[in-house]
C-alpha cells in the first residue's frame, strides 16, 4: 500500500515543532512560489476535523495516549491525501503539506513511541519531493496547550494531565533536534534564504522534468 506513484506535481513537506511557525513558513513559501507564477495548494493539519471533533466531544477527560493521537493523525493525513494532496499532485500542481509526516514522527518519538512504528504507520503517504523545516520561534518555551494552534500544541493539551513531561520545554527541544536530522536528504530551513533555495530547487526540478518529457518517448519514462 506504499504510495510509489510518480506524480506530475511536486510535494513539499513543511514540518516544525510549533503550529504558528509551520503556518507562517508555509505562507511565506506559498507567497514566494506564487510570485514566480507557480500554482500551489496548501494542505493543513486537521483538514478532516477529527481533532476538533475529538476535543469538542467525549474526550474531555484527556485519557488519551500518544499512540491513539498518532493514529488519529494518520487518519487525518489519509483524509488530506485523498481530498487535497493527491488530486493536486495528479493535476501537476505544487502542494505544500504543512505539517506532514516528520512532525508526527518527531513528536511521537519525543513522547516515547518507536519512530519506525510511526513511519510504517504512515507509509501510505507519498515521500515528499522536498523537505522544509519551519523557522522556530520562542525556542526556549514549552507549547501552549491549545486545540486550535497545531498538532504539537494539541498533543500538549491532551497529554497535559496524563503525561506532563511530554508537554515540557525539554520535550520541545528534543522534538526540534529530531526534526533537524536530515536522514540522508536535503532539508531546507525556511528562512528567507532557505525559501529562496527551495524555490530554486523546485523550479530546477520542474525544468528537468519538462526536458525529460520532451526528449524521451513516453514508454521509456520512469
Amino acid at each position: 500500500m506504499a504510495d510509489k506513484v510518480k506524480y506530475p506535481g511536486r510535494l513539499i513537506a513543511v514540518d516544525g515543532s510549533r503550529g504558528k511557525d509551520i503556518v507562517a513558513a508555509a505562507a511565506g513559501l506559498v507567497d514566494a512560489l506564487r510570485r514566480e507564477r507557480i500554482e500551489c495548494a496548501v494542505s493543513r493539519w486537521d483538514a478532516s476535523g477529527l481533532f476538533t471533533d475529538m476535543a469538542a466531544g467525549g474526550h474531555v477527560d484527556r485519557n488519551v495516549s500518544i499512540r491513539t493521537l498518532s493514529l488519529v493523525y494518520a487518519a487525518d493525513l489519509a483524509f488530506r491525501l485523498r481530498w487535497e494532496i493527491r488530486p493536486a499532485l495528479e493535476a501537476g500542481a505544487v502542494v505544500v503539506a504543512a505539517p506532514y509526516i516528520d512532525t508526527a514522527v518527531a513528536l511521537g518519538s519525543t513522547c516515547g513511541l518507536d519512530d519506525e512504528w510511526l513511519r510504517l504507520l504512515m507509509r501510505f503517504a507519498p515521500v515528499p519531493d522536498f523537505r522544509g523545516l519551519a523557522q522556530e520561534r520562542k525556542v526556549d518555551k514549552a507549547w501552549k496547550r491549545r486545540a486550535d494552534r497545531g498538532y504539537a500544541e494539541y498533543v500538549a493539551m491532551m497529554l497535559a494531565t496524563a503525561a506532563p513531561k511530554h508537554a515540557s520545554k525539554a520535550a520541545r527541544r528534543r522534538m526540534m533536534e529530531l526534526l533537524d536530522r536530515t536522514r540522508g536528504r536535503k532539508l531546507f530551513h525556511l528562512s528567507n534564504k532557505g525559501i529562496g533555495q527551495l524555490q530554486k530547487a523546485l523550479i530546477d526540478s520542474r525544468k528537468g522534468a519538462s526536458r525529460q518529457s520532451a526528449s524521451r518517448p513516453r514508454n521509456e519514462r520512469k
Binding site: N63, A75, W117
Partner: protein
C-alpha cells in the same frame, strides 16, 4: 467521530481502518487493560481479528494492519463463530438491509446493499478462515442450534488455559502501565 463519518459515507479504506484502530486502542487502554489488571475476565464481542478480516477484505495489507494495531494484546481464547457466506447472506436478508460499510459498498461499488454484501462477505469469510489457521482460533459452528453453541462455548471457556502467546502482549501491558503510572504520579 466514526459514526458520523460512516453515516455520511466519506471514509476511504485507510481512514476507515485507522479510525477503527483509534477506537480499538482507546478501548484497550481505557476498558480492557484496566479490567484485566483488576483480575477480571474480559469478554470482547468482536475484537482485533474482526478488524483484520474486514480491512484485509477491503484490500489492505495484513502486515500493515497488524502494525497499526500494535502493540498487540493477544487474547487467551479466540472463539470464531464460523458460517458460510451463503448462510450469512441469508440471515441478514431475513432481518434487515446491511449498512453501507457493512455491505462493503465502498469497495464493491454495487448499489444494492444485499448484492454488495453477498460479494463482500465472501472475501471477509476467506480472510477469517486464513486468520483462524494462523492465530489458532477455536471454531464454533454458527449454523448449529443455539443451545449447542452455548454449551460448547461454556466448555471452551471453562477449559481455557492461558496461551503461551499471551507473553507477546508484554509490550502492550508495559506501555499501558507506563502511561497509568505517569497519570497516577
Amino acid at each position: 467521530m466514526l459514526k458520523v463519518r460512516k453515516k455520511i459515507r466519506t471514509l476511504s479504506i485507510e481512514e476507515y481502518s485507522l479510525l477503527h484502530a483509534v477506537d480499538f486502542r482507546h478501548r484497550v487502554e481505557t476498558s480492557i487493560l484496566p479490567a484485566l489488571w483488576a483480575g477480571k475476565t474480559v469478554l470482547a464481542d468482536r475484537y482485533l481479528f474482526t478488524a483484520l478480516a474486514r480491512d484485509a477484505a477491503r484490500g489492505l495489507d495484513l502486515d500493515w494492519l497488524l502494525h497499526a494495531y500494535s502493540p498487540l494484546l493477544w487474547p487467551d481464547l479466540v472463539i470464531y463463530f464460523s458460517m458460510t457466506p451463503e448462510d450469512s447472506r441469508r440471515r441478514i436478508a431475513s432481518t434487515r438491509a446491511p449498512h453501507f460499510y457493512e455491505a462493503g459498498q465502498d469497495v464493491t461499488g454495487i448499489d444494492d446493499p444485499l448484492a454488495s454484501y453477498g460479494r463482500f462477505i465472501d472475501r471477509v469469510v476467506t480472510e477469517y478462515e486464513n486468520l483462524s489457521v494462523v492465530f489458532q482460533f477455536v471454531t464454533v459452528d454458527a449454523g448449529d442450534a443455539v443451545y449447542r453453541q452455548h454449551t460448547r462455548v461454556r466448555e471452551l471457556v471453562e477449559k481455557a488455559e492461558k496461551r503461551p502467546w499471551s507473553t507477546f502482549s508484554e509490550d502492550a501491558v508495559e506501555e499501558w502501565l507506563t502511561k497509568s503510572n505517569t497519570q497516577d504520579a
